[in-house]
């Protein structure tokens, strides 16, 4: 009797698997690969979109922006994803015209560990650069003290922490530092991994956050989402317009809104140090990379449908996952760009 039950259960399981497999093979499979930073929101979108259009299935591998660019260039995936826009040379290396579609924005926050100062440290952008250059070495440096009236800053050496692994976060952060310090541009520059003048390297957001948490009088930088989820203290920065701005989803979106006026048609723009009263200075787009001329008619059509849905509906899911949605003016531009995709 018991045996029979087991047998029939087994049969049921096999049937169910076969049914699922049958369904999956009937759906159009669209493959993508790239950035790890937007992975949580992308997987949310893909699972939500499966309810909207069950006939298409997205498969996204978060292998890193560099890998995403390589794979879309080699056409082994249907779309790529990157936290850094492609250089002219990289665009030329692709076999067809690649379009950047900005999806959401992220920000990088400056976190710190000073016993007794759990929030509200204010730092000028130039001062952050000089700390990372090793020019400002103590917390009670007159330049930091001047911006933090009424806060007693300790006479302690600043321990600088940075990412050791190549990452889009480092790219945005060093881009920001290059924008505010000529010396940084000359000595270090911007990139996914750079030659740090000083400091300790931690692997990943968690490595940097852990190091900052363990080390008194340290400073580091992590993604906004990571800092918020883990309730890390963050510094308020002075932006290009001379206003003190706290990192938040709103101030990140404000950075893109500030950039909208001089947004290039291909969206290859860095969002650091943008004008605007509320614009947070260390923000950046993350992009999907698709070919203007789609090779596969069915896949191309489905991809465009998804992109339109993402713009209309998906954007609203962003802030719950601590990503900044695109501001309205940028959304309008992107909607026009999606129309140029041919299939």
């Amino acid at each position: 009797m018991f045996k029979n039950v087991r047998k029939s259960l087994l049969a049921l399981a096999i049937m169910a698997t076969a049914a699922v497999a049958g369904q999956a093979s009937a759906a159009t499979l669209i493959n993508g690969a790239g950035a790890t930073f937007p992975y949580p929101i992308y997987s949310k979108w893909f699972s939500e979109y499966a309810k909207v259009d069950p006939s298409v299935k997205f498969n996204y591998q978060s292998i890193g922006s560099g890998g995403g660019i390589k794979q879309i260039t080699a056409q082994t995936v249907d779309f790529g994803a990157s936290d850094a826009f492609l250089s002219d040379a990289q665009l030329k290396a692709a076999p067809g015209k690649l379009i950047h579609i900005p999806t959401v924005m992220g920000a990088v926050v400056v976190t710190y560990n000073i016993p007794g100062i759990s929030k509200g440290l204010k730092l000028k952008s130039e001062d952050v650069a000089d700390i990372y250059l090793g020019r400002i070495t103590r917390w009670n440096d007159p330049r930091i003290v001047a911006d933090n009236k009424g806060v007693s800053l300790p006479n302690q050496p600043i321990v600088v922490v940075h990412r050791s692994d190549g990452s889009g976060t480092t790219n945005i952060f060093t881009d920001f530092l290059s924008g505010v310090s000529a010396e940084w541009t000359k000595k270090v520059g911007k990139g996914t991994s750079v030659k740090w003048p000083i400091g300790l390297g931690g692997k990943g957001n968690e490595g940097v956050a852990g190091q900052v948490k363990n080390t008194k009088y340290s400073i580091g930088y992590v993604e906004l989402a990571y800092a918020f989820e883990n309730r890390l203290p963050f510094a308020t920065l002075k932006n290009k317009s001379g206003h003190w701005v706290e990192p938040s989803i709103k101030s990140t979106s404000a950075a893109a809104a500030g950039a909208a006026k001089h947004m290039p048609a291909d969206y290859r723009i860095s969002l650091v140090n943008q004008p605007g009263k509320d614009a947070y200075p260390i923000a950046g787009f993350t992009w999907l990379l698709v070919y203007e001329q789609q090779k596969d008619k069915v896949k191309g059509k489905k991809l465009v449908e998804f992109l339109n849905w993402e713009l209309a509906k998906g954007q609203k899911m962003a802030s719950a996952l601590l990503y900044a949605p695109l501001p309205e003016n940028v959304k309008k531009m992107v909607s026009k760009t999606i129309k140029t995709i041919k299939y």
């Binding site: 321990v159 190549g166 990139g191 991994s193 030659k195 300790l200 390297g201 692997k203 490595g207 363990n214």
Partner: protein
Amino acid sequence: MSDVTASHRWKIEKGLSGDFIFKAMTVLFAFSILVILMLMLYEMVSQSLPSIRKFGSHFITGMDWDAVQGDFGALPFIYGSVVSSVLALLIATPLAVGTALFITEIAPRRLGGFAASLVELLAAIPSVIYGLWGILIMTPWLQQSAQPFLQKYLGFLPFFDGPAYGVSMLAGVLILVIMVVPIITSITKEVLTAVPRSQREAAIALGATRWEMTRMAVLPYGKSGILGAIILGLGRAVGETMAVTMVIGNNPQISLSLFSPAYTMPSVIANEFAEASSPLHSAALMHIGLLLLVITLIINALARLLLWSMSRGAARGAKL
């Protein structure tokens, strides 16, 4: 009659073909390893060619690692790998050989068996777990207790100079010690168990104490095996990536102080390969991989040489 011969011949043929298949397969498998190694070497050389062409020997002596400027020198990584592995082995070897001797010679059989299974358990823990333990427990302890202590009493030495961050060459060495000890211990234990009873009994019959027996009869017999165990430990230490990356501080510098952060060859590959910013950057990382392979080959060759000279020495000793 003819029937019998036919079946006999058939049997022989079948036997021959079985032998042939067996031989062919073993040869194939043996050569496939060689072919895979060759392919790997070819692929690594061809992928790192841009870096080899551009930097040549400067790559090995260069101190700068700058992906933005496209200037790559691997010396700090080579230094970090070699120093961390060698120091780890210097600490781990006496610990591991001592543990193995305790298990085989001193401990009562049950306790020995228990200790042996504990050691094997340690060897089976994935390295990322060691890394997490290192970053969450060991480095704060180093930073708050061990490093201040060392600095207070041994601070006059250049090895214990500078601020205590926790993450450091010292942390890398310690995590490697913990990871290498189980490997050396378990192999040394096997080697020592294989020493014949007669060897021990002869020593005891001559009036040797337990220490004398171990020193004169057991250890010399197992010498080459123990050396092999140490080499395997070194192999693991040189190649270890995850745990070391998490605690060593990832700063490509050469400093005498064990307190300052360092960087190893596998760590920089793991850190930067996924997001390498230019073809030259990827090539330079591949070049480091190639150097790592070469260093491993050199270590293995040296070990072979050592084993060979030792066994020759032993043979001569036996003749006399």
